[in-house]
Subunit: 360 residues, 2 copies
């Protein structure tokens, strides 16, 4: 079986072990004589699977007990609306950090529901950094502060969770489960599964139960975090197969040695890529300031853009998939989520060096 | 491989042929060297799959060209809110038919956004019929009339789409693709996939393009039908694996001979079950009026309820799964969606007859 090296920004590679287990029990899950896709979400066997996935996520991220973990649909883009709908209460205003394309989208969606204040922005410098905390203009009366832990398009990432006086909301879409996160510092964390956790169709929300009482009147019950939490994420039929695969991936993370070990591997992968770029004699370039370079998405350009098309074509032919940069910025992007192996990154850096040698 | 007979109300049985194909190409979809779950929704190969699924759905249901077909997340329960949010315009009121548990939920969700008028209800008679059209109290100024084509819990179904002067909205969750539907009579039809189309996590919306301009200000962009249609259902990452499996199921429906043939088989399955109930000498009972009996969900009770527990236990042991009635009504329910074979229904009716003989 020839597997491609998958550097897609998501949906993307799943751990081969996880795929193998799903393949193995595809027609008969847990002795039911049915695929896991075919069983009721209210059956004992699925309820147990769902419970186990939550427990494993809680263990891996050390989620404090007062936090609820929700398994929902709709992706981060639905959270962009669901967060203000659920958390504004009577505040009428929220703070946002603008650090790239995705935080920009979160801001746009929130503006429908409140007065959005941009506490800080790195737009002027082309989203090449996280603005210095000393430059943040925080509103102590904001309903919350929203930040995007990792900017998937611009490849910019926070070094750690900021400390603020209002509830801290984190879009951790492309980084959750790729590195430790201090849940207790946050009011709410959300992430779609299709980066480091599973296939598309599932979104995880981790929310401090203290925030479950501030939904705007316009919030549909089905999007109300309090109702979802009360129903153990089964107000209606959840995305059962993505939930199942995410559960398998959580077990895989534990077998890998947990989140610290996963993080070390991800750091090694990122380091290798950035080193290859930085030591390419200017052939490749990544312009994000070093402390803020993402370990999840490594965007770069070829100094001579004339070679870019050839690079992408040849890479694709050589089995390196999904390397085209986001349409809004162009260039190249290597997304190196959990299931992308160090071996795959080594193969890619070898390819990059060869390409630079031939065309440089 | 011992497969159970799956009578679950959803998620439920998928066609074995579909599962086999998905299993076959699980690690390498269309020569990509990746699982279909691992490829970008914006890749050529996925875009082609997505397009093909839409074309097949259009062909099977003869969807007129001025209708958009959307592939979204969130299930019917999100549509309960999304429909009024998107279609009310400045009307402020909508008509609903109350024919069972699910239309009741649709009504409750809509009340957040408008003055809901119950045009007709069969609540007084225990949801045993569709109210006679002559008794409907329709408002010509309503934004739309909403009906639930098939009530999954109560087993009540419309014989055909009503003719009304306002846009007609159909919750076809448990019946879409199980029988023909006259799309042109409707303003909008929605259905979650996990009954007759695929696994949980995907919802199909078929909407007349003329209705794309009436969203309330509170509607999030990500839930706005017009925006979704403009982006070919890819405003953000869709549920790619359910989309793929639904695509395979659409091909399977075509191989079965199309929607008329599927309908004939479903009618035969339902007929066999109702006959077994009606000719059981009162051992089993279904109290829905004959013209409105569902071909998708056949709920029944045992006249002597003392045997119910034994019936369900013995059925489960004999490989008949998912027969427990909905928590709100109890009893037994056989859901006989597209992928449930006539053979499986025959086996179930044999079991029912045996059980009645022994316990009757």
């Amino acid at each position: 079986m020839a597997r491609s090296h998958n550097f897609s920004a998501g949906p993307t590679a799943l751990p081969l072990e996880v795929l193998r287990q799903a393949h193995e029990e595809f027609f008969d899950f847990a002795g039911t004589g049915m695929s896991v896709m075919e069983i009721s979400h209210r059956s004992e066997v699925f309820m147990e699977l769902a419970y186990q996935a939550e427990q494993d996520l809680r263990a891996i991220l050390q989620v404090p007990s007062q936090y609820k973990v929700l398994f929902v649909q709709g992706g981060a883009s639905l959270q962009f609306a669901q967060v203000p709908m659920n958390l504004l209460g009577d505040k009428g205003t929220a703070d946002y950090l603008h650090t790239g394309l995705w935080s920009g989208k979160a801001i746009q969606a929130a503006q429908r529901y409140c007065d959005v204040r941009i506490a800080a922005s790195s737009k002027a410098s082309g989203f090449d950094r996280i603005p210095a905390v000393t430059d943040w203009n925080l509103n102590p009366n904001a309903a919350y502060l929203h930040y995007t832990e990792n900017e998937t398009v611009h490849g910019v990432q926070f070094a750690g969770a900021p400390c603020v006086s209002v509830p801290l909301i984190c879009d951790a879409c492309s980084s959750l489960l790729s590195k430790p996160i201090d849940v207790a510092k946050h009011g709410l964390i959300y992430a779609a599964a299709q980066k480091n956790m599973g296939p598309a169709g599932l979104t995880i929300v981790i929310i401090d139960a203290a925030l479950l009482d501030a939904a705007l009147e316009v919030t549909p019950d089905i999007l109300n975090y309090a109702h979802i939490a009360n129903a153990q994420s089964m107000l209606n039929t959840p995305a059962t197969f993505p939930w199942y695969l995410t559960g398998l991936t959580l077990k895989w993370i534990q077998r890998c040695g947990g989140i610290e070990k996963i993080h070390q591997t991800n750091q090694a992968k990122a380091e290798l890529l950035y080193r290859t770029i930085d030591y390419s004699g200017g052939f490749y370039r990544n312009s994000v300031q070093a402390p803020f370079r993402s370990i999840n998405n490594v965007p770069f350009v070829l100094a001579d853009t004339a070679f870019e098309k050839d690079f992408l074509r040849l890479a694709d032919q050589s089995g390196f998939k999904g390397l085209k940069g986001h349409a809004s910025v162009g260039g190249v992007r290597a997304s190196i989520y959990n299931a992308v192996t160090l071996l795959a990154v080594e193969a890619l850096t070898d390819f990059m060096k060869d390409f630079a040698r031939v065309h440089g």
